[in-house]
Amino acid sequence: MDSTITLTVDGERRELTVDTRTTLLDALRDRLGVYAPKKGCDHGQCGSCTVLMEDRRVLACLSLAVAHDGARVTTAAGLGDGDELHPVAGAFLDEDAFQCGYCTPGQICSAVGMLSEVASGWLSHVTEDPEGPVEATDAEIRERMSGNLCRCGAYPHIVAAIRRAAP
């Protein structure tokens, strides 16, 4: 069953027709040719498909496209300012925080979303003092980034990159 929806993807308004079954991930990849979000597991178990929806990090593979008609979606391809890399993407490059690069766009979107969660004072499972200020320490970054698997094992460099990019 087809349905026509509108998405704003990386600042561009796109109208598209999708099957009600089409996930946001498949809508981006198969319908719009936006391949920055990756399909690693398709079941919410790896984080490769992470995008920002209205500035919050979510999994595109578990979102039905039809349920997000009108949404504003930002992928790793749309984070930067023209040719200028987003600071988190730049830090990933500097720290060699990736190898095969497949989980990387999801890691970067996740990191951007995570840093704004930290800035909003959200706690995590490892926050030691719930009354104190919330900071992007290594332990906090590790916990908060655990929804993004990296089989190349770039975690130590990912943590270093996010630490470097954290305000």
């Binding site: 099957d19 079954r21 089409t22 498949d26 990849r29 198969d30 040719g33 391949y35 920055a36 979000p37 990756k38 399909k39 690693g40 597991c41 398709d42 079941h43 178990q45 790896c46 490769s48 992928t75 790793a76 391809a77 984070l79 930067g80 890399l85 993407a89 730049g90 990933f92 490059l93 500097d94 060699d96 990736f98 190898q99 095969c100 690069g101 497949y102 989980c103 990387t104 766009p105 970067i108 490892v126 970054i141 590790r142 916990e143 980034m145 655990s146 929804g147 993004n148 698997l149 990296c150 089989r151 190349c152 094992g153 770039a154 975690y155 130590p156 460099h157 990912i158 943590v159």
Partner: protein
């Protein structure tokens, strides 16, 4: 030797050439090449582990709007070569394992293809099956050879007699489970079949475009020149993309059924658990006879492991025991059980990864039995020459790795006895293990260099970058070999139209392809002198290295781990691992560090988490997804440090360099298990080290 000339690119921490594309998500992986209205193929997998397909009913699937074709054995039988059961897709009805391709559907969209696949009804004649190791009803057998072509069994001296005479004896059995590569990018392909003349273009996620082309040419009975395989970026492989698998044949069959149309295939994560290989489970018995001073007299390593009845794969788990330590008597054996299971294949450091878990845990047990520091035990058993071949080492620097690691890690402050350090609710311990990996160079690579009008050099070789840093490292090697800056080199890889390259496997890439690039640069200079004209062109192959017959060539390393085990819950944490490696010259310290630490992280994952759980009733791995099959997440990984000796191997190749893709995973699991023993006094000989192992 290069590196003394040119721009000094080799050895510099150059940023990844494709890095910008990767951090913005714009580097195209196999699935991500655009075609107008591509079709999508979705396989139907067998739900019985052994038997025959009696009939396939595709009528409901064909009735679905948007379905373009169904593929079943009667339709396509006889169209591909059937000698290799892995590639004999839909050639007959035989079912060799649960999860084998028994039909497929091609449709306009992935949603329709997937739905249609669920509508295909398959009727089976079911046979008895056996999937567990050791098998109850099936004989073990000795393979002709193990992976890499080494002998299955070796023996020197009377190991049993020396064992019997030894003062200290270790006799232990270690088990490693089925482990799955799980690269983040599932295996994907796009195939376009053109007729008149017949031609195949395949975008593939592979560690070797030429391997795929050669294999498909054989299977399809098609001239290799009519096949083009393209693979510029690969989302990890760790061995599983070192050969084509059944899905590659399937996508070609689908494309051939619908010529002129691009057909896309993306395996699901679950499908990968039966179709693209895995590290077979092993049972390894190790016996060591030593004197009280720790000197080993006899070493026996007997391996029993899973293979598939569909196709043999013999993991070389015991070969490390042929060369690691001294022993005047020694025996190693490999026995396989050919089971009704999916076909095992390469996974990062096949052989060494499971084998060194067993050997290095046994060495730790021997150290305690002798009352010796585990580092001292290893130093006392350093062989002057390769015990297997009798050849001198091209460079054996294990002792330096151990000593340097001990110093950097703070080894001397550890309590001697296990269960000697408690920090709050946590037992704390440290452990060590050795690492080893052969310095391989594969034959059959060729590079071409062309001088362009703008003065830059196009360097072409059909190599692969699976995250290893090939794009960058080969550019650096070419720059130095040509005596220009890396910005004057334009590298082309990942296309079978380029000169032939060997597979990205066995940590051989930098040696095999790098040597070809160096040889081509030399040929270019020889042919065209100091002032080559635009269009000047030279090709050369990886040269043969006569020194391979004169030296035993291995990389070595030491792995150190700190482990904390919760006294109440048994949770295991690894706050710190350190590896010190001897791997010849390092071409790019930035990407090499990533490979080494990444290998160590995968070793940590192997130690703590990874286990494909087989249900013997159904015959498949029941935790076949990334929620059930755990790989390490970010929070599992603490400080991970890799360093290396300043070293050039003058014998291994013109670069003095060896690859570092695999050695990082070798020994890590043993170091962690040894540290967990040191923390708790609980010896775990079966991976993984889950919390329940430490309750009690």
């Amino acid at each position: 030797m290069i590196g003394t000339e040119g721009s000094g690119a080799v050895g510099a921490p150059m940023e990844r050439i494709e890095g910008r594309a990767k951090v913005t998500g714009t580097a195209p992986y196999a699935y991500e090449h655009d075609f107008p209205d591509p079709l999508h193929v979705h396989p139907v997998l067998s739900t019985v582990p052994r038997g025959r397909v009696r009939s396939v009913d595709v009528s409901a699937a064909q009735g679905l709007t948007g379905v373009r074709a169904t593929l079943t054995a009667p339709d396509v039988a006889g169209t591909v070569g059937a000698e290799d059961r892995e590639f004999a897709v839909l050639q007959d009805g035989e079912v060799f394992f649960r999860g084998q391709i028994v039909a497929a559907v091609v449709a306009d969209t992935p949603e329709i293809a997937r739905q249609a696949a669920t509508l295909v009804r398959v009727d089976y004649e079911v046979d008895d099956h056996e999937v567990e190791l050791p098998p109850a009803r099936r004989e073990l057998y000795r393979p002709e050879e193990v992976n890499t072509g080494a002998e299955a069994d070796t023996a020197r001296g009377d190991a049993d007699a020396v064992l019997a005479d030894s003062t200290v004896r270790i006799d232990r059995t270690y088990r490693t489970p089925r482990e799955y590569n799980n690269p983040m990018e599932p295996h994907c392909s796009i195939a376009v079949w053109e007729t008149d003349p017949e031609r195949l273009v395949l975008y593939d996620s592979t560690q070797g475009v030429h391997v795929v082309r050669r294999t498909l040419a054989e299977v399809l009975g098609l001239d290799a020149e009519r096949i083009r395989v393209i693979s510029p970026h690969v989302g990890g492989g760790f061995g599983s993309k070192g050969s084509p698998h059944a899905h590659n044949v399937l996508v070609v069959l689908a494309a051939r059924a619908l010529p002129g149309r691009a057909v896309k295939l993306a395996l699901t994560r679950r499908q990968m658990f039966s179709l693209v290989g895995y590290r077979p489970n092993t049972i390894q018995r190790i016996r060591i006879g030593a004197e009280e001073d720790g000197r080993i007299g006899a070493l026996v390593h007997d391996v029993v492991e899973t293979s598939s009845l569909a196709k043999e794969y013999a993991e070389q788990s015991g070969v490390c025991s042929r060369m690691m330590y001294t022993a005047r008597a020694r025996r190693t054996t490999h026995r396989l059980a050919a089971l009704d299971v999916p076909i095992p294949f390469w996974m990062r450091a096949p052989g060494e990864a499971p084998g060194m878990f067993a050997l290095e845990t046994a060495m730790d047990e021997l150290a305690y039995a002798c009352g010796l520091d585990p580092i001292e035990l290893r130093l006392r058993n350093e062989p002057g020459r390769d015990p297997e071949s009798g050849l001198p080492w091209s460079g054996r620097h294990l002792a330096r790795c151990l000593r340097q690691g001990a110093e950097r890690f703070g080894w001397d402050t550890r309590p001697e006895l296990p269960r000697g350090h408690r920090d709050g609710d946590w037992w704390v311990g440290t452990g060590v293990a050795s690492a080893v990996y052969p310095r391989l160079t594969l034959p059959g690579s060729e590079a071409e260099i062309v001088l362009e009008r703008d003065g830059s050099h196009t360097v072409s070789i059909g190599a692969a970058d699976i995250g290893t840093g090939t794009w960058t490292a080969l550019t650096q090697i070419a720059a130095d070999a040509l005596g220009c800056g890396p910005d004057r080199v334009r590298l082309r890889i990942g296309d079978s139209r380029l000169p032939t390259a060997s597979v990205a496997g066995g940590s051989s890439g930098i040696s095999s392809w790098g040597s070809a690039v160096v040889a081509a640069a030399r040929a270019f200079r020889d042919a065209h002198g100091d002032r080559p004209a635009p269009g000047a062109r030279s090709r050369a192959e990886t040269p043969e290295n006569p020194e391979r017959e004169e030296y035993a060539m291995y990389s070595f390393g030491s792995q150190f781990a700190e482990v904390r085990v919760n006294a109440d819950t048994g949770e295991v944490r690894v706050p710190r691992i350190l590896g010190v490696f001897s791997a010849g010259r390092i071409i790019n310290p930035r990407t090499a560090r990533s490979q080494l630490t990444g290998g160590m992280v995968m070793g940590l994952s192997m130690a703590l988490h990874e286990e494909g759980v087989v249900d013997p009733r159904f015959g498949h791995v029941v935790n076949g997804d990334l929620a059930g099959y755990h790989v390490a997440a970010n929070a599992d990984v603490g400080r991970v440090e890799a360093e290396w000796l300043d070293e050039v191997d003058p014998h291994v190749n013109a670069l003095g360099a060896a690859g570092v893709g695999e050695i990082g995973i070798v020994g890590t699991a043993a170091a962690i298990a040894n540290a967990a023993f040191h923390a708790t006094g609980v010896r775990v000989r079966d991976l993984p080290l889950t919390p329940d192992r430490f309750l009690g």
